[in-house]
């Protein structure tokens, strides 16, 4: 039984994404600076500022997101078959369906929603590409998940990439009141990755709203019972099966490591080039 899809759901999420990308509140966290320079950076390989300068947070010698849509070649990391084998297409029952997830649902079999893997592929590629760009520019990435089952896995993944994780009880003002709770002069995360957007009581995680308030872009795996609004790069997919979550962790880990390696490589090349010019 195929669903009749509503267009409103999809336009809502697209609108949210472009809104968060385009907005740049004055005096906001460094995360905003990232979105401001999106699409205005120079082509890859050409030197803007030398890599060793002070402004390590947003260097202009970085690939433009619009010029080369897949600079880090994230497409090769996964295939549709991998997603299918990891049970990413399995959603919850029809009764748990969230209204805004209807555009991403392929159909419903025996009351269980099936997520459209073609759309998932596109969204996953966009999300991984964005993550890679953030990691390339030395941004702080925070993995968030409130599923107890995968708490250890997510923390290990974050540690393996050299990034940060928060899979515990979220204290209210962590992002919005960071200068008091975490100390004055703290640097906030530049990207939040949600392996599951719901918390333990099946409500949207507070961090989604707080990240939107603080102009921090978010990437999130949204299941059929989740609300994809306010997430900059939603990835419709299963967030309950261990196989699926392990796949996501593996993909994020590989993209971040790949991006960081590329950064180190290009910085080394720059160094050699400057030395050669100096001589």
């Amino acid at each position: 039984n195929l669903l009749t899809f509503t267009r409103t759901g999809s336009s809502c999420t697209v609108g949210a994404r472009t809104a968060s990308a385009g907005s740049a509140a004055p005096g906001a966290a460094p995360g905003a600076a990232l979105t401001r320079t999106r699409g205005t950076g120079s082509a890859p390989g050409s030197a803007g500022e030398p890599p060793g300068s002070d402004r390590t947070w947003m260097t202009s010698c970085s690939p433009s997101l619009s010029a080369t849509p897949d600079f880090f070649n994230v497409k090769e990391l996964f295939t549709l078959k991998d997603l299918f084998d990891a049970r990413v297409h399995l959603g919850h029952k029809k009764g748990c369906r969230h209204r805004f997830m209807e555009p991403y649902i392929f159909g419903c079999r025996l009351d269980q929603d099936i997520i459209d893997l073609d759309q998932t592929m596109q969204h996953l590629q966009l999300a991984l590409n964005f993550t890679a760009h953030v990691a390339y520019r030395g941004g702080i990435i925070l993995f968030v998940s409130r599923k107890r089952q995968f708490c250890h896995l997510v923390e290990s993944t974050a540690r393996a990439c050299g990034e940060y994780a928060h899979t515990r009880y979220w204290q209210g003002g962590l992002l919005t009141n960071a200068h008091i709770q975490l100390g004055p002069g703290v640097r906030l995360p530049d990207l939040l990755i949600f392996l599951s957007t719901l918390n333990n009581v099946f409500e949207p995680h507070v961090a989604i709203r707080d990240a939107a308030k603080m102009n921090i872009p978010t990437v999130g795996v949204v299941d059929t019972n989740c609300n994809p609004c306010l997430i900059s790069y939603p990835i419709p997919g299963n967030d309950d099966s261990p196989a699926a979550v392990e796949l996501y962790c593996k993909l994020f880990r590989m993209t971040i490591i790949r991006a960081k390696d590329k950064r180190r490589h290009s910085e080394a090349v720059e160094e050699l080039r400057r030395k050669a010019e100096g001589n």
């Binding site: 702080i140 250890h152 923390e155 974050a158 540690r159 994780a165 008091i180 709770q181 002069g185 640097r187």
Partner: protein
């Protein structure tokens, strides 16, 4: 801050005086009200910041300065800079800067920067702003990293167990003796982690440790578990039963001491006797005219079935009639332990013959006639 406030006050006063002159000169000389504003109004509304943070470089510089200062101090006092200990520093400072202040904390002191600047106040991120610890953004990085580590050990043990089962090997379960050990207290945990731990967090951590210990193959992670368990000094002292002694005639005897209320007694029980009991050199029939007291004295012998077999010589002082009888009963029971098997000693203990009676006279309270008796209540 003080200079700023003084300048502001001066400006305010100047303003008031100028106003005063203007008004005094006019046709209507009004009484002047001095409006003083405090610096609080002028201070910008800054939110309360958390505790001050110190950088690594700052701490290092402080340590260098401290070491240099220590050597200078040693030279000043004419001592050897190499062997100048903290106590010498304290003495030197107390000598050079004598202070009459009462509070020890307020007097001048020179301590190593690690003691002055607490560990947790150091800034937790590097120059580029990236925090050092991967769980920094949780707020309680040490506690959660501890939970993460412990869970990892639990997973290791599970994996090892699964491997053993897969190879059809027996999964050992030797009973680890947990009687002599206890888990860390919350305060000890806080000292280790250098951050505040709530009661719920602490209980959750202990539950996780217990879960880990309950697994059959938990012996692999014994070293890790030892870090969180402490020895408890064994409270039970095994009561040593003294062996029999022999006097010049070759007769076996044993001594015992007993007390009851304020009475203190010692008893010497001889073997091969006729059941004669002497108290303070007087026969019991004359010393204890009341039957109840004599029954108390005979109870240990009657319990063991050795009524006509032992002679007893006792000394007792203090207390009253009944208290002395109870004291001697305890003393003879203790003495009889040496003549008797361990099983019978256990029977005596269960019968209450070897327990000191803790009841003493309760004190009188003010506003009452006795320990419990209240004054007569009169309606009017």
């Amino acid at each position: 801050m003080g200079g700023r406030s003084a300048a502001v006050m001066a400006a305010a006063v100047g303003r008031v005086l100028r106003l005063c002159r203007r008004w005094g000169a006019g046709p209507r000389a009004q009484t002047l009200r001095l409006i003083c504003t405090t610096t609080a109004v002028h201070r910008k509304n800054a939110g309360a910041s958390g505790p001050e943070k110190y950088t690594e470089a700052f701490i290092k510089k402080q340590i260098e300065e401290f070491n240099l200062g220590k050597r200078h101090l040693a030279n000043m006092m004419g001592e050897d800079p190499e062997t100048f200990t903290q106590e010498d520093i304290d003495r030197a400072i107390a000598y050079l800067f004598p202070s009459g202040l009462f509070d020890e904390q307020a007097r001048p002191m020179m301590k190593h920067p690690n003691e002055v600047f607490p560990e947790q106040r150091k800034i937790q991120w590097g120059e580029d702003g990236r925090p050092f610890h991967f769980l920094f953004y949780t707020g309680k990085q040490s506690y959660y990293s501890l939970m993460h580590e412990t869970y990892e050990k639990w997973l290791n043990v599970q994996k090892h167990q699964d491997q053993l089962i897969a190879q059809d090997l027996p999964v050992q379960k030797e009973k680890r003796n947990l009687a002599g050990s206890r888990w860390l207290t919350k305060i000890e945990l806080e000292e280790i982690l250098l951050e505040k731990v709530s009661d719920d967090d602490y209980s959750r951590f202990i539950k996780l440790l217990q879960k880990l210990v309950a697994l059959p193959c938990a012996d692999i992670e014994d070293k890790y578990i030892q870090k969180f368990s402490r020895e408890v000094p064994v409270q039970l002292q095994k009561v040593v039963i003294e062996p029999l002694q022999y006097d010049e005639r070759g007769v076996a005897f044993s001594t015992g001491e007993g007390k009851r209320k304020t009475a203190r007694a010692t008893a010497v029980v001889y073997d091969n006797g006729t059941g004669k009991i002497t108290v303070n050199g007087i026969d019991i029939l004359h010393y204890f005219p009341v039957l109840q007291d004599r029954e108390q004295l005979l109870f240990p012998f009657q319990f063991l079935g050795r009524i006509g077999k032992h002679d007893t010589v006792c000394t007792v002082s203090g207390g009253g009639r009944s208290a002395q009888a109870g004291a001697i009963r305890l003393a003879t029971a203790k003495a009889l332990r040496s003549f008797v098997t361990e099983k019978e000693v256990e029977f005596m203990r269960q019968a209450g013959l070897l327990t000191v009676d803790p009841r003493v006279k309760e004190r009188k309270k003010p506003g009452q006639e006795g320990p419990r008796r209240k004054f007569t209540w009169k309606k009017r």
